[in-house]
Symmetry: C2
């Protein structure tokens, strides 16, 4: 791998894929260790592969109960895989995006410190250190808060802090795994735990460049004002707009259904949490299959969009969605170029967004068609599972453990492709991304 990076014989897309293949194989080895599982647990190789891909891609779909399957050392191994998967995703995502020349701003350019005299590797190491620091800091604070709070939930302090640590890591990496045995359903009435979780999963899913810019903003407030990059503005607005949209739609659609017998604050938190979790968290405070079909379709749509790029999340990404919306808007206004926040979006980013979206739709549709043949579940359950796997969200209407072998293989493939990015998948067969000639100055966006 070092040799590859130095001599650069592989394209960025190929390195990403190679990274994930190696990571998945290592995870399979770790999960196959006897100490990982509780005594008496006997899971199939396919289930181990499924769990490995789900963990590395921080999706959170599970074919086995995490709490019943994993021993205490196994739980730490799983935590390590989630951590590695989450940070790997963020690092590689940011790194290759910077590497292929798509700077988001002057500040970010120094992030990987690559100039003619430095190898890509030192840039990668430097970047990973930064990301690791930020993520571990967030998780540490999260674990302390949750662990301390959990002292009145669990009998021993060890269990409280183990639960707190697992919850913080799972939320920050948007992994969606749980060791409660039933996601966050036990905390359905505990708005404090929910708010902490929403904050952690938002920090993980909003994109690393945003975190850096906000950090810089806080550090040097006076100088920074108004200098957020187009990327940060667009992705953050989209991120929170989708959260708000989801909350409102769920509230409306379920008013006379799931929320019929709930108080306003219960309804609000159910809607708010389930909307937020589709950004990529994958945790849930309820059994989502209790929602009615219009709501479930909306959740599919939200999961399909997913998180921001250069984050721990999947899906077509918030920027891609924003560019598509702006494209439609500009076109209907008869404009040839997309202008937003006094900037123009680059032609290549538009094209990339469009291709990513269409490929994602093709992939989604193909997977749904295959599963409607291989499985006996309802169309809604299948569409939900496919959206969740592609978006690496990890929500499920409960069919994951009962999937057929073909079904599991399809979901594994979706999580894998959803993770490496659909364009990386397309570009595997190219030696390197072809260079593009820029014809006019524009500010670049991350897409897909």
């Amino acid at each position: 791998m070092l040799r590859f990076l130095k001599k650069d014989p592989l394209s960025p897309a190929q390195i990403i894929v190679l990274f994930y293949v190696v990571a998945v194989i290592l995870s399979i080895c770790l999960l196959s260790l006897p100490i990982t599982t509780n005594p008496g647990v006997d899971w199939s190789f396919l289930d181990i592969v499924f769990t490995a891909v789900s963990a590395i891609s921080v999706t959170g779909l599970t074919v086995v109960s995490t709490v019943d399957t994993f021993s205490t050392p196994g739980t730490f191994i799983l935590l390590f895989i989630l951590q590695f998967g989450g940070i790997g995703i963020m690092t590689l995502g940011t790194f290759f995006w910077l590497l292929i020349g798509k700077k988001i701003g002057l500040k970010e350019r120094t992030l990987i410190r690559t100039d003619q005299n430095q190898s890509h590797l030192s840039g990668l190491v430097y970047l990973m250190k930064q990301i690791l620091t930020i993520i571990l800091l967030i998780e540490f604070v999260g674990a302390i808060i949750l662990g301390t709070y959990f002292l009145h939930y669990f009998p021993t302090w060890q269990e409280a802090y183990l639960q707190g640590l697992f919850a913080a890591v799972s939320a920050t990496t948007n992994a969606g795994f749980d060791i409660t045995g039933s996601s966050l359903i036990p905390f359905a009435q505990d708005y404090f735990v929910q708010m902490i979780n929403i904050i952690l999963l938002t920090l993980g899913a909003i994109g690393f460049p945003v975190l850096i810019e906000v950090k810089d903003f806080i550090k040097e407030k006076s100088k920074y004002r108004g200098h957020f990059s187009l990327y940060t503005k667009l992705t953050t607005i989209t991120f929170f707009s989708l959260m708000a949209f989801g909350t409102i739609v769920i509230l409306i659609f379920e008013a006379n259904y799931f929320f019929a017998d709930k108080s306003w604050h219960e309804s609000f938190f159910y809607a708010f949490f389930q909307s937020s979790t589709t950004r990529n968290g994958g945790l849930a405070t309820m059994d989502v299959s209790e929602f009615s079909i219009p709501t479930l379709l909306t959740l599919c749509f939200l999961m399909f969009i997913g998180a921001s790029p250069s984050s721990v999340g999947g899906g077509i990404r918030t920027t891609t969605f924003a560019v598509i919306i702006l494209l439609i808007w500009s076109y209907s206004k008869g404009r040839k170029h997309i202008k937003v926040f006094k900037r123009e979006i680059h032609e290549d980013d538009i094209r990339r967004s469009v291709v990513v979206s269409f490929l994602a739709i093709v992939l989604w549709f193909t997977a749904v068609v295959i599963l409607t043949r291989s499985e006996t579940f309802s169309l809604m359950e299948i569409m939900f599972e496919v959206s969740s796997a592609f978006g690496t969200t990890g929500l499920s209407m409960g069919i994951t453990p009962e999937l057929s072998s073909i079904g599991k293989i399809v979901i594994i493939s979706l999580m894998f492709i959803g993770r490496i990015g659909i364009l990386s998948f397309v570009f595997i067969f190219h030696r390197r991304l072809e260079d593009v000639n820029y014809h006019y100055p524009t500010e670049r966006l991350i897409v897909g």
Copy 2:
């Protein structure tokens, strides 16, 4: 309308919408006449509106049984509306596309004979005459063949030729209405009737410019060779590729299901006819709800794409689909421009295709979400109905007559938007399409 066309105060999009609104109102009046319906028939105003929109948009979805509701004069009134709808669609589609400067080739430029000295109106009249001649000729030949053949199906020659005429008009205009009471199911074993129907609906759905070019090709064979326009090549290849794709997929998906007890030639014709009919015909030789879900999803996809532009059909159109496929292909090859048949596809056409596709997906999804709340049918039945209405195909799993009022209004809106074109709908609010500056020479396509 004459004044509008001469003085040009309305945009093409506004004229198209105005035309359809007037046409629908006139159709409602005609259908409300006492002589239209059989004695004792009492249908609601919403059902009349539904039938009027379905007929003018030549969709063919029906909330009432055509054979039970319509008297013999009523049948002729319906035929007239279908004819008017089909020809109006083809004329307006071709006319405005030529008018906004999108010539398909040297030959076609003379079609509307508009130069600085002539008004648009004379071009429109000239074009409509040509289209009328071609369509009536096709229908006449079709009616003679089918009517004569029907002599051994029906007791009297009058009924045989009435059935033949209705079948020929319904097939050529891709209207999908039937006066057999059960579409083409009575002819499920009659491959001759099916082949004639497939030919007629293909001639209606393949696009008027293609018909003209083929006519010219036949007339002056030696001179014309190899000079088909990019539009004709692309649209025709896509059209027949989709037909073949659908046939193969249906054969594979239903091999162990609907076709389990059928002979190879029965299976082939069921697959071939049902695939062809999704191009826009809307007739069926079987109850499509007998297909399994993977097949039904594939039919949804095919109906969503629909027919070629400047034809009697709807959907996002074959060219739009072809451009999207070529865009993905070019992008994955790292190419900046789409090159096909030694031509480059214009940037504006690509953008238009993309916007049309996304808007269509948004519309489709929104309609499905609304219907899953307003109706009690399965998700599959609703998705099928919505795809059929948007594509103005007219196939149904049988839920149309049982739709709620909200459901009917949604389906009416879809048929209307599917017909006027999703971009016309967007452009209603503009005075006229803004001019575009061309930067490099390319050959133009019709999209959406």
